[in-house]
Symmetry: C2
Subunit: 564 residues, 2 copies
């Protein structure tokens, strides 16, 4: 929803003023829009336009190698004929003018009248109307222009910058238009500045297939699918509408409408690119990002431009518009033939394990397997209690970490002692788990491992308390938290203290301490919210135990079973 | 809300895969993140990172002149120490490594451990922690890193690309950090992939001042203000936290968090830039856009980097990262000293008006004034009925158009006849109103004007019907709509027909026809929705008259008063 404005009625003019201030080193404002400072060599002036609300289209596409000017209407409203005339007249360099825009009635009329006015004055003016949206009509001539604006404008901008004649630029623009297809889906409608309801809504779990970019909803609603299914659907539909003599090379755009963000677009491209290649196409200079938007609309579209030699030359040509900059020259400064070094953490020299150490190592291997299994069992529960104050990934993080540790330990040489095994397990845990708790567990296991000597002839029970103390110290030092902060320390530190102070034999002492740890973990439910968390969520955590303290209690309890 | 994903738990890895495919000509994936293909001349490797969900930060900032690599954690989750180590090791070019990231506990631990591992192996590794968020703590050392990541990373990337030593790059990074301040506001929280509630919410009409970029809400909620007030608040707050020896030149970033779109950011910049200049600063290479985001969070931040000579050199240096490309060279191809031609539409030669024409002209002048007044009275009502099926701007458009027509007519020479006046009025209407109805009214008035001869000795009553018929024909031809489409034709065409067929004298015929027009306009309330409109809104239009047909009826009725 649009939140930043003064008088909503002046939104379009106000934002244009800021835009012109921002790019005053390269653009000039004229009545009705914006033009680029003219090139030193006169060119055909490609004038793009339509209503505003589609940035980077249209004003963001003005600059060397792209549009010579943009007519800026009010939001989703065609600019007036006089404003088209004004921008074109200011941008004309004596080589003729091309007015290009999407296929909408208001634009057809206003740009059409302006073209008449310009031609009457002897300025050779042509019109290229973009019609890429395959969902908007079966007949090509009736189709709307959406993200395909970009491929058509880019083709003409490059042709003009190459010094081609107006006949050539017009021909290349129409060629790009005939070879461009787009299909999009809408997840949510956009809201006009000052309005409190969106222009349309999409039911939760649904998506509108065949979106427009002016608040037109999709032509039909479908159940929202996985990225994989969405990418498949879009790819199939666009490739089904293949132009004549398609060839095997294509330009591709995955375009975000406004609130569908970059990571989502990359994720979708991951599905689309292989499918296009499977279909026998080579992808040339793909673009994934926000190129033709619709205010804060949620949605995405796939555009394919079937290339031939001259379209590929235009598609790959440099451009330096405000919102679109391409000039691969800087990439010449990098080594194109290079294989990245894959880093492996150097292993310490392994100590030959004593008989006692080998016996203990067997226990460590069993524990590693059992604990990974335990975390798999508890993953869902740990995720649920984490979701109250966090992002709900604690269970998964613990599974990732303990499984990585188990695998590293399984793969260790049979002769490895407990210290070596715990080191390898700890490193693997830190490597795979990420986040804060993963690295704390991993690094602290390594610290604990360092208290053990694989060459020792025997392991006194006190060694256990010593290793645990080292583990706990590492947790405190690295984590920087304190008891009562609702972290794993709330169960670990009472455990360590109880184990250290106990006079019972190790199995009993460990089990008693583990019971305390479990109890203290449950007690964290009454502690106040974690610091630094998003408020509403943190408040929800009161009444629920801390996931880190809880998993710690579970693991300590499990470990107690190996001493009997 | 994030809508495109497969397994939410794999979101970060999946999106990175797509990203690497997209930029495979310049980037290489390594365990834990991404590195640039190395430069031909070895440089200090600046490694940026943290959790994902902030694109273009962090992976989008990898490339010549910027970062050598990015460590990519899960969403809002620190990457593991091993992954930091892996990326740094792969990116190291023998000139040392700088690990740089925002001031968050998980990153401090993981990057810190990795730095130890790298230094142990003899790779000179330094750490630069970004602390720009003035809202997060009064003490600089405790502050979070948010959009200021960008200025600090950019400074070091430029220094490294310039071949500076690791000591120099580290020093410049710390200098940029000490001279960067950011304050942001949140309008809405972001939603994690797969989650159905945002990490936090902001009450309608409120904004959270002092946002974080990991779902941390603002430190205090305030009433949402106009863009003007928001810009003033942000500017004052950031300038109040001025560093030592500020100087008079600053780099500026207006950063969108994800769903606060470009037009809004430009609009805000329009308020901020003048205030920074009033404070005596010169703005150098401002950046307005999405540089450090937080998934689909709504919000914006202002960052100021106080420049000195070496920081300005770094801030303005070229860079060619995936998501940030800057190399002003192409601008050398444009004429820097240029004043845009402001186009004026050429006037036809004026015909000396006859006595009869002059008399009629007086009526036209009066009508122009009365109709503009009438539209001002009806603006709100016309906007209300337009809002049911459209964007609610019909009233405003009619006021703009009729006022422009009146002004042009008022400024016409006293000797101008009715044809000349209607031509001038029509052109001004089309010029100022924009949209579809504005240009239809303007162009059709001109067509009507052409049926009148200012030199004529007398004007027969039939002339009125003739002019109206020409006006209606133009509306039909240009507009391409049909009767029953719920447009102004639904009142205009019945009027024209009635006027043409009437045997009464003109005043009576006109008034009778106008009554029919008004009735037919009311009848449009029962017509089915306009085609091509957003569905939920279009359905709402049933039961409400069409605004275009309604204003047409009002104006025709008004015109009837000049014939008695």
């Amino acid at each position: 929803m649009t939140k930043i404005f003064n008088d909503p009625a002046e939104f379009s003019d106000d934002q244009l003023e800021g835009f012109l201030d921002l790019y005053s080193d390269r653009l000039v404002g004229v009545p009705g829009g914006v033009i680029s400072l003219p090139p030193k060599e006169p060119q055909v002036a490609v004038i793009v336009g339509g209503g505003s609300g589609h940035y980077p289209a249209f004003a963001g596409l003005v600059g060397p190698g792209f549009a010579a000017g943009a007519v800026v209407g009010n939001i989703f409203t065609s600019p007036s004929a006089a404003h088209v005339y004004s921008v074109a007249k200011a941008a004309d360099q004596g080589k003729g003018v091309i007015l290009t825009f999407g296929n909408y009635q208001g634009d057809i009329i206003n740009f059409g009248i302006a073209a008449k006015m310009l031609n009457n004055e002897g300025i050779d003016t042509r019109i290229v109307v973009v019609k890429d949206d395959i969902a908007s009509a079966p007949e090509f001539e009736k189709r709307r222009g959406i993200a395909g604006d970009f491929t058509v404008f880019k083709a003409m901008g490059a042709a003009a910058a190459a010094g081609k004649s107006i006949d050539e630029v017009e021909r290349i623009g129409n060629l790009a238009n005939e070879r461009t297809r787009t299909l999009g889906v809408a997840f949510s409608g956009c809201t006009m500045p000052g309005a409190d309801v969106p222009l349309f809504t999409v039911a939760e779990g649904q998506m509108g297939v065949g979106l427009g970019i002016h608040g037109e909803p999709g032509i039909r609603d479908e159940k929202r699918t996985s990225a994989e299914e969405l990418g498949t659907m879009l790819t199939k539909a666009v490739l089904a509408d293949v132009p004549e003599n398609p060839g095997s090379r294509i330009g591709v755009i995955v375009n975000g409408l406004g609130t569908t963000k970059y990571e989502e677009l990359f994720l979708l491209y991951r599905t689309i690119a292989p499918k296009l290649r499977e279909a026998g196409y080579e992808i040339v200079d793909p673009e994934v990002g926000e190129l033709v938007t619709s205010l804060d609309m949620g949605g995405v579209s796939l555009t394919v431009l079937w290339l031939d030699d001259e379209l590929e030359e235009a598609w790959t040509a440099p451009a330096y518009a405000c919102a679109y900059r391409k000039d691969p020259k800087p990439l010449d400064s990098i080594e194109k033939t290079y294989t990245a070094k894959v880093a492996t953490i150097s292993e310490d020299d392994q100590v030959e394990a004593s008989a006692a150490a080998t016996a203990l190592a067997t226990q460590v291997r069993k524990a590693a397997a059992d604990i990974a299994e335990l975390m798999r069992e508890k993953e869902q529960y740990l995720g649920e209690i984490d979701a109250f104050a966090g992002d709900g990934d604690h269970g998964r993080g613990m599974v990732r970490g303990t499984e990585a540790a188990q695998e590293a330990i399984d793969n260790a040489p049979e002769t490895a002692g407990p210290s070596q095994l715990l080191k390898l397990g700890g490193r693997a845990w830190a490597m795979m788990a990420g986040g804060t708790s993963g690295v704390l567990w991993g690094a602290s296991l390594e610290t604990a491992a360092n208290t053990l000597d694989d060459a020792a002839e025997s392991f006194a029970p006190e060694k256990a308390a010593e290793a645990v103390a080292a583990f706990a110290d590492s947790m405190v030092t690295l984590g920087g938290a304190q008891i009562g902060d609702k972290t794993l320390l709330d169960s670990l530190l009472p455990f360590t203290e109880a184990l250290g102070n106990s006079n019972s034999n190790l199995p009993t002492a460990w089990q008693e301490a583990a019971q305390i740890a479990v109890q203290k973990a449950e007690d964290t439910a009454v502690l106040s919210p974690k610091k630094g968390r998003a408020r509403p969520l943190a408040e929800k955590s009161v009444g629920h135990p801390d996931p880190g303290a809880t998993s710690m209690g579970m693991i300590l309890t499990q470990l107690g079973t190996y001493f009997s």
